[in-house]
Symmetry: D2
Subunit: 311 residues, 4 copies
Amino acid sequence: MPTDPTKPLEAKPEAAPTRRATVAAMEEILFAPQPVLDHGFIRIVDYMGDDNAIVQAARVSYGKGTKQAREDRALIRYLMRARHTSPFEMCEIKLHVKLPVFVARQWIRHRTASVNEYSARYSVVEDEFYLPRAEHLAAQATDNRQGRGEALGPEEARRVLATLRDDAALTYGHYQEMLNRDAAGNPRDPARKGLARELARMNLTLGVYTEWYWKIDLHNLFHFLSLRADPHAQYEIRAYAEVMLDILRRWVPEATAAFEEYVLGGAKLSKSALEVTRKLLAGEDVQQAETGLSPREWRELMAALGRPVTP
Amino acid sequence: MPTDPTKPLEAKPEAAPTRRATVAAMEEILFAPQPVLDHGFIRIVDYMGDDNAIVQAARVSYGKGTKQAREDRALIRYLMRARHTSPFEMCEIKLHVKLPVFVARQWIRHRTASVNEYSARYSVVEDEFYLPRAEHLAAQATDNRQGRGEALGPEEARRVLATLRDDAALTYGHYQEMLNRDAAGNPRDPARKGLARELARMNLTLGVYTEWYWKIDLHNLFHFLSLRADPHAQYEIRAYAEVMLDILRRWVPEATAAFEEYVLGGAKLSKSALEVTRKLLAGEDVQQAETGLSPREWRELMAALGRPVTP
Amino acid sequence: MPTDPTKPLEAKPEAAPTRRATVAAMEEILFAPQPVLDHGFIRIVDYMGDDNAIVQAARVSYGKGTKQAREDRALIRYLMRARHTSPFEMCEIKLHVKLPVFVARQWIRHRTASVNEYSARYSVVEDEFYLPRAEHLAAQATDNRQGRGEALGPEEARRVLATLRDDAALTYGHYQEMLNRDAAGNPRDPARKGLARELARMNLTLGVYTEWYWKIDLHNLFHFLSLRADPHAQYEIRAYAEVMLDILRRWVPEATAAFEEYVLGGAKLSKSALEVTRKLLAGEDVQQAETGLSPREWRELMAALGRPVTP
Amino acid sequence: MPTDPTKPLEAKPEAAPTRRATVAAMEEILFAPQPVLDHGFIRIVDYMGDDNAIVQAARVSYGKGTKQAREDRALIRYLMRARHTSPFEMCEIKLHVKLPVFVARQWIRHRTASVNEYSARYSVVEDEFYLPRAEHLAAQATDNRQGRGEALGPEEARRVLATLRDDAALTYGHYQEMLNRDAAGNPRDPARKGLARELARMNLTLGVYTEWYWKIDLHNLFHFLSLRADPHAQYEIRAYAEVMLDILRRWVPEATAAFEEYVLGGAKLSKSALEVTRKLLAGEDVQQAETGLSPREWRELMAALGRPVTP
């Protein structure tokens, strides 16, 4: 492990007093690694602001009037609903995350965060690779091009796991060999120079773990979660998104409740879907073919409206 | 005043304990408005991180080795010098700023911050306008197209100030009249409707004060200051930059010292300027005309090198 | 006028051949100022990409399979619907816009564009101020804190217009006087120095026109329009948004149609609103008070579903 | 290959006329893959603007005066020198790049670009892995923690290459086996389901090639190149940076020349380094120990000034 999560650098022996916004439920779990997948974790390193900070920022924008007119909870819900996103940018969180490289590659596509990643040019990568649990070893989905379908049978799952484990061990062994480095970090063969770290890392597989500090504001974190806590997201990144949602429920409970009400739990209806809904409410009989909706859109609309799909 | 800085919303009666990074010198001045120009201020609303947070983030990136090899101060200086900017993004600050609109228009060009500005659609703007002190009433510069030259004479300065004051009063009076609103906020004439705020504001001048919450990370704040604490920046925005520099010296003293050493106090030499410097060091006689430097570049290089300008 | 729109700098006497994506309907209106408000305009200066460029970028991401499986139009609609936004970032447009400063202040809050604005530090501002047409002179809305209500009566409107016109003329006259500059640009009084431009501009009102080059990608332009072509946006910025929508219908007709179907013409239903809709479809009688929706949310849901509001 | 570079999707059989800015030297090489490393390439897919577009944008900002006062070339050099970066944002380029994943991981850290990457969730990854040429197989540097030192001896290089080649082949073979897919893309074993692509990819090494469309403005591309065309950058990403520099010399020759003069070819001197330079010019004898410069800074300053390092 590049950094030892049991002795975090940031952990203070004692608390110091501050007049800044402080959230007791966050102080409880500060610095403690919360496990994700087989070797990963998320640790809260720092946070700025709370539900009240959102309210204050909104009141700078919308002036005195809002003080009388709305209580805090209603104001936060209004901001979320009306997409007044800037007050949510006034909260910030910094996480230390350990995650497999193929997950990191999806994650980093979100450009509105600050990142300090462990560098395999500066340091030797540790011998930790993601191995899915058997129930997550799924076949390619047949109904969409992107996701997973049913679980593999036990025999196929067993072989896949063995392959992943063996290839990780083999390529990592060769990584150390090319570096001319034994398990204790000493040169294997004094006659060899050892390949540069920046090249040797090329032999590691995409299942290897990396680490980073990741700092993001609450608005952009909500956006991240709206995509990555979604059922269409790959299971492995969703596992991290779920832990982050739990953290948000501690940190900014009102904002998170509004997010779950208006974004995660809601549905966007297209112009045509709205028309279909209006006709259905008026008691009309509507067939997919006449709506302009594709078969897939039709199925999704019927599911959202809690109606059986009539083909 | 839209918000009353003597009773800040965020002020806590008592401090709470936290295990997060805390900077005593910042706690002292938290929430207190620091005056800028005639009616403006900067107040620290919140901060995240400290010098040590920069070091920690760098050590995640560069691994264990950095722990032994460098002490913190040297590491921060190295990061600044080598433009490893991401660890500086790990600190964040949130300020409440009151500033004239024409300054706000320059300021907002920096896109890497979060902003909640007082909205003149939601609330009535207060009667506060920037009036420069006599010593800041300068003539147009004659040697560059952009800046200020000598101070105006006392008579011209007096007339300019009177004009600015009178026009601010006149246009603000008409603003209230169009809103159909007296000084106490009541309708002037019950028979009139009063113009919408979003239109009436059009009659205010660019010297009127506005307010915002402004949140930015340390790397981007350094970039802001490298442009706005520069002598070429307009005096009025520089006044805010100077106060921010003072805040940074409290908050992250090592990072700020490195910024002053490597960025603010340094100089960028072009390829041709480097060649000139080498020739001068070798004792050669160099004339501007033969260097590829423009006359202005030549003057600036001579000034940076502490040499008299020989035309 | 700082730049003369009848002789645009970019206008080429003749066309040149290119193998890049080219849109005939855009070439027709390239460089021509399209009027907005009383003195404003939008001119297309350049564009990159077309509907096909979105499809190509999506096919790099989603691979060969998409070629067979979907025709272009369906693919674009799928991308919009599923919020696969990155292919829309592959188109870019550059506009020259002339607009009042109070509109520019709203506009600039969108941080994901590149801007070059006319500088009142470098040049003298021209004598052009926005004066609303009588039908746009509305009273403050009584049902929300932000917008406009009914039109003013003719007498009040006449007085407001006279005030706006007179104050613009007065403050502009004093601006020139402080600059010591007559209408022809010559010094008024050779004995005076004239105030620096960067200070004198402070006396101009927020209705004065400015200009900028504004460059943005299609994804971020759609986001801008989702907020600024919305009925809650101020009329004056909406006028610009409408012209941009017309430009988009020429430039990327399929993407714009998808945007109007899934974003502009659609509706986002919250978790609770979805539950209400399901109950209504099941024939249940639902009262606002029992739903968790606020009265305003209830009204908006009933409007979206095309049902009368039963209080 | 996911997309066939010999038959690019964007290639037009014939040119179309446009009145937009067009660069003949770019039209010549449009769409043609320019080889980088062993299997990589860069292809220009589209571009917007030219040197003149920078000048126009600057003239919108700085007004009429600039037309008379400066010719275009001098204006571009002034903008680069004075860090007036926004006019450079007015040019945009879109590239199709094929590159190894470990290079893509460095590249993507630049957040100010738009990206559409080939997705290993949607499609099967092809069998192409980076294998360095023998002269690039270097040992770990001994004088800094990050880079490469001397080349490996021929025997060690031979073994490293064999390892990289064999492990790539082995892990790719297992990737296909887990997918239950033969070289022709057919199922190997009809009785097996085949692992989902999003999981199987985990077994590929970081040397595997990926592809993306990458779109960026000129200012941010210059910033990218200032870091990635630097001798401290890893050779493999520098190889791409060099090809991009060549493209820029065709596209915006004046801006690129200014970039090479003021950024790439220049040097930033710290406050202390400036003081040392002044003393040296005044004929003083200066020793490193008394300067506040670290030994490494001292060496770098002496190199920049063309002086022997006196320890």
